[in-house]
């Protein structure tokens, strides 16, 4: 017998978790101020860099292209997406250990409802953090291009950005938690930490080299990060505007996000069930 009204329960639970988290953030003044400041700074960086870039490109070529391969906007968006995914991954690995929540969730609703509620509330929280930059970019687009389609496309871009960042980070997070809790991982914990450190060193080294810090490494101007699919979200945002963009990449970004979200949720569900039901919660 499957859970009745699981979809309704998902939204009820999401609302409650989000309500509790927002209240928690507001009570923590330091965290609240930092998040507000980050959102304002993020907005300013996007508007100023975007404005300078658009002006410069327009001055040089007579048009505005945001998404040609290897140009800076997709690179910045991909780096920001990776940064948010890493932030959410850290939350995933911390949050999943918060078994006080799961003892209530898993004896009240199905694991699928629990997984969907966690993902929806986390995505919504990320959306809230990005709300100010989203509104700022929307305002800039409406002011600059006066295209009504932006009213839909800019918030949609943020939604695709947040859901994919959440789903990918939680899929990796739960997989790591399951692996960390497994027999083999327990026996070879040192190897696990070595691999983690190596991955960290490679990622940090790669980013340092792309911005020219440290020993000189020959990196092509069109680097891999700028070609990552999250950069295609720019094409979604620019849809309907005079900005040169690729409709094919915009469609690919939307469909790709749906596929990533679908496969990601399936992976998270399997990993979460394995993790929640097979990991010791008590020494008693």
């Amino acid at each position: 017998m499957a859970e009745t009204h699981w979809l309704r329960h998902t939204f009820q639970l999401t609302r409650a978790i989000l309500q509790a988290r927002v209240r928690g953030m507001r009570q923590n003044r330091y965290q609240y101020r930092m998040l507000t400041l980050s959102a304002v700074l993020f907005l300013l960086v996007i508007l100023i860099l975007g404005g300078i870039y658009a002006y410069g490109f327009h001055h040089a070529t007579g048009s505005v292209s945001l998404s040609a391969g290897g140009t800076q906007p997709p690179l910045i968006l991909s780096v920001v997406w990776l940064a948010f995914t890493f932030y959410m991954y850290r939350r995933a690995t911390w949050y999943a250990w918060d078994l006080i929540d799961t003892s209530f969730l898993l004896t009240t609703v199905s694991p699928l409802t629990a997984v969907l509620s966690i993902l929806l509330s986390e995505s919504s929280l990320l959306y809230l953090i990005l709300l100010l930059p989203t509104l700022g970019v929307l305002g800039a687009f409406l002011y600059g291009f006066a295209v009504p389609a932006s009213i839909v496309m800019i918030p949609l871009t943020t939604a695709l950005f947040t859901t994919t960042a959440c789903v990918v980070s939680y899929a990796i997070g739960f997989a790591v938690l399951v692996q960390r809790g497994g027999d083999r991982a327990t026996r070879n914990r040192w190897l696990y930490y070595v691999v983690r450190i190596l991955i960290g060193v490679v990622i940090i080294g790669y980013f340092l080299s792309t911005v020219g810090i440290g020993p000189h490494v020959s990196i092509p101007r069109t680097n891999l990060v700028s070609l990552l699919p999250p950069g295609w979200f720019i094409d979604v945002a620019a849809t309907g505007t005079p900005v040169i963009h690729s409709p094919a990449r915009a469609v690919a970004a939307i469909l790709g996000s749906l596929i990533v979200d679908g496969i990601g949720i399936a992976i998270i569900y399997q990993s979460a069930v394995a993790y929640w039901y097979d990991t010791p919660t008590s020494e008693d």
Binding site: H9, A16, F104, T108, Y277, P280, E283
Partner: protein
Amino acid sequence: MNPTIETTALTKQYNDTVAVDGLNLSIPRGTIYGFLGPNGAGKTTTMEMLVSLVTPTSGNATVNGVSITDRDALREQIGYLPATPPLYDHLSAREQLHLTAKLRNIPPEDAAERIEGLLGEFEWSDAADEPTGDYSTGMRQATAFIQAILHEPPVLFLDEPTNGLDPRAARTIRDHLTALAENGTTIFLSTHILPVVEEIADDVGILYEGRLVVEDTPDALIHRRGTTEESTLEDVFLELTTDDTTTGWGGE
């Protein structure tokens, strides 16, 4: 009559540690079953297996006729209060309880009536709009207790339900448990407060190093081995949960 809680050779092993070792239980409907044991004996693991939070390594169990592997059906049969109250710190007790009522598909009018009635019995209807994170340990415990019984489940699993409660609230919970059992609810109660078990439990099982070492009524346990009139369940517990004293008590 079929037992409401029945386990057969229920076992849980983590790596090289056997947390619960071949547990056999048969608990009839309407029983308050005191499940005792020292820290690390396997009580919480047993309870988590019975509420389907932990998958057994081997063996099987049914709760109110439902296999513990059938999680969707099992959730309908049980109320669970873990040792740490599962509350969202930034929701008030009233919000938390109304959320639970929605997730348990309790009609809103019935939910409001039950919630206000139960909050009234614990005499803190006025404080029920404060965030639960600001509550005392006892108030959190009682809120979680109300949450566990709100949907009137046929089987209740309670881990240290009177932990941190003031005497009046502890009495309210004990009275509730007795009344629920009289109406047919089966209660699986784990606690270190042995006088509570002595007072309200119909049967007692003592777990030691993952194995059930003895099971009987509290009175029978106390008088089973020629104890003195002043003996209590605590004396029996202390004697049974020491190495080399578990033979001759009829345990497994």
